[in-house]
């Protein structure tokens, strides 16, 4: 998996978090982020996000890391 590809999903996830984290309790933010990613992202992109989370080269926003627990990661077909 090339770096660019993971950076692409990391940047997108961080941008989602930056836009959703205001004026709410932490759990609501986490739910909204994970809900958004589950609802709109293809499984392949969610899998890449999970991969990036395990790679120290990428900086995921704290809320995204928390949201990962609620993001559906399925095997690609």
């Amino acid at each position: 998996m090339s770096d660019d590809r993971l950076k692409y999903v990391v940047d997108m996830a961080n941008q989602i978090a930056l836009n959703l984290l205001h004026g709410k309790e932490q759990q609501q933010c986490v739910t909204e982020i994970s809900h958004h990613i589950n609802r709109f992202w293809a499984p392949s992109m969610r899998a890449q996000l999970a991969e990036a989370a395990n790679n120290d080269n990428y900086q995921l926003e704290g809320m995204v890391i928390l949201a990962l627990r609620e993001i559906k990661i399925t095997a690609e077909n």
Binding site: D4, N19, F40, M45
Partner: protein, 966 residues
Amino acid sequence: MINYYDPKTESAASQGADLSKDLGTPISKSSVQVSVQIDGVNIVVPEGTSVLRAAAIADINIPKLCASDNLEAFGSCRLCAVEIEGMRGMPASCTTPVRDGMKVQTQNANIAKLRRNIMELYISDHPLDCLTCPANGDCELQDMSGAVGLREVRYGFDGKNHLDGATDSSNPYFSFDDSKCIVCSRCVRACEEVQGTFALTVDGRGFDSRISAGQNQDFIDSDCVSCGACVQACPTATLTEKSVIDNGQPDHSIVTTCAYCGVGCSFRADMQGDKVLRMVPDKNGLANQGHSCVKGRFAFGYATHQDRITSPMIRDNIEQDWREVSWQEALEFAGKRLTDIQDEYGRNSIGAITSSRCTNEETYLVQKLVRAVFQNNNVDTCARVCHSPTGYGLKATLNESAGTQTFESVMQSDVVLVIGANPTDAHPVFGSLLKRRLRQGAKLIVADPRSIDLIDSPHSKAQHHLKLRPGTNVALINALAHVIVDEGLEDADFINRRCDDASFQQWLQHIKDQRHSPENTMAITGVDAGELRAAARLYATANNGAIYYGLGVTEHSQGSSSVMAIANLAMVTGNIGREGVGVNPLRGQNNVQGSCDMGSFPHELPGYRHVGEASTRNLFEQEWQVSLDSEPGLRIPNMFEAAIHGDFKGLYCQGEDIAQSDPNTQHVQKALSSMHCIIVQDIFLNETAKYAHVFLPGSSFMEKNGTFTNAERRISRVRKLMPALAGKEDWQVTVDLAKALGYEMNYQHPSEIMDEIARLTPTFSGVSYQKLEQLGSIQWPCNDQAPLGTPIMHTENFVGEKGKFAITEYVATAEKANKRFPLLLTTGRILSQYNVGAQTRRTDNQVWHDQDVLEIHPNDAEDRGINNGDWVGIASRAGTTALRARISQRMQPGVVYTTFHHPLSGANVVTTENSDWATNCPEYKVTAVQATRVDEPSQWQAEYEQFSQRQAQYLKNKNGGQIAET
């Protein structure tokens, strides 16, 4: 007694009433009814109705020349003279309103004599070349001479006259023959009242008076925007379409829908055989009510342009000659390639893109092909790059992904807030309607980085121009909302009744914070706090406040937040759910609304239902007899990323030109070059087709049946005017491609596709071609609850729920001006060209805009030694292109602007891959750039020109190097 019936009322119009008859003067909206007797016939009409109109309603046709029911009565020709009991003389019936109990006589010897005298005077100064006149058979002057029984002209033709008047042929589409003008001023009034441009005047007085464009200029050099309203209004041959002059009068007409912008104007295509002679805006069309713009009215010649490709073509790779083949061979080639790719790279390695230029039925079939046959959800649409944030933002707040009003609703607005839209250029017919309302006294607030025409129009000025910095919409709209709650201007009753309390309370806490105050956001937006407060008060205190927005809202990294912030603003002020208010996205292309409705997004089935909803999926699975993927597919930018990284290999692209319209062109080119099979279905070899392996010739809107859905959710018929040049309509091509992949779709006519959509989509369940024939058009939702459709949404509830306030924090875009790229580039559209220009570049509209230019503020130009017309290199972190400079005060210092209508301009070489956080809609409106004077086009432009020349040669060689016979 004839009871007056108002053909413009919702019920009459929606019952398919024919508004074509010219009733002479406009409708009166008075609720007071008066009774009048005309030639012994009793008739009841609203107070304020003219005698001329009342008579016409009773089918008593009084001769007239200067009157028309889309113009205020003027009373200059006197032909409509009548006698009225108790009144002296013979008053003009067009300027005389009915009174209760009035008795009118329209015919007697005295009246007839007067009318003949009047006609005699007109004819004495009119050429008598009727038999060779282009208007022969379609001339009101001729008709009126006949109607009044003119038999002689006693004054002769030798006196002082206008018979040697010159002809102005400067406009590419119509000419002005002064010798035939009767100076009735209908053209002048049409330009003022209908179009709102005020380009024409009556010059001189009395007998010497004549019509003049601008300051005695030719039409082409005047302010005329070629809308055609004057041509339509002219009762003589003075203003006539050149196509009629060249070819004669039409022999039949077919009503259809404009294939350009999201206004969705209805047109009467006047035909000679299967040739379209002219397009005349249809008075029955509820979106446009008889008006048009230059594109729909005149720029239709592209449909039969010599560049049309009408045979299928294939090739193994993009540096090979095209090979013209049969439909069967092309479809088998495409089917095999797609199957091979899926076998090798997996089922998610292919996808499709639908187009807002295609019909509902066509986009529905493409998404069906992807979901049922490709067996994935990799389908997206060009709305991704324009209004996807509208779909997201309105669904999240108002519970429905659509605008709330009819266009006509603006005529009841008291304050109109236009954000990031330029209606006079991009939605011209709505722009004219809005200007009419503004001239009647409605107030206007414009939020736009540029000074758009609306701000200073003839006889109307914006009360506030909030000239914000690009990329700061959310801060600005939040500040408006802050003022409203800070100053107690919210509509508490509406919020209590109609909105979700928890979301409101949370939002209230958020928006009350001082960081959203105009004083604090001024540093972000650049908008004066006092001006912003005044604008907020004006909107919030209006009886009816309406918001109209466009791509200047959506095409940002916070496009979705801006849409939600707009919905918040409308809800907090109670401006939802009735005439004159609402949230109105001005959709770019003709069928943006429809293509989204039809399930073109990768996460949604038709009717905006998520692919993860098992019950919805089951419905489609049963109808289509397949099982469907429950996970969202890839969006367009995700497809490009996956292509570059080797996971996405095949694309079916119908009617969309992603190589030109999508941002960061070099990135797109890289993605397209990485794929193994690109199938382009289009009417021209567009920029994307230069990267394609299969070309399936498309059909223009004139060659097929179907429907478009405009920005008002109005579904209108597209009717076939001529046979498909390539032998197949676009929907048939998709059916055949499915068949080549082993899946049968069985439809005999697009109406059957609509029947399937209606069976599967609750908001469309009442829609059918039969009902469209009866009603003319239908605004969805149309179902058992609303069998005639829904002109205004959310009147009682927000689609079964409460409105939800969304927290929209301003988050600055990552795209910032800096030392290296100190200017912000924003992109947009102009009146004469449309989108990527593939259609309008192949018409005479080129005379107004034959190249894209860079608009730059005088200070920025001076700093860089740039003069008007110089080549300017525009560099961003994505790439470099060069355009000619136009120095313009419309810009604010630090902001430059261009359009993307010409492929070699490379406007999107400069735009970046930044996108909206929620939808990936590209941030076209903000790119940090540097502009410098250069001597020649950029390297990209030179290379792309060479590439295009090679591709043109490959096309020429499509028959083994022989030019194909046409």
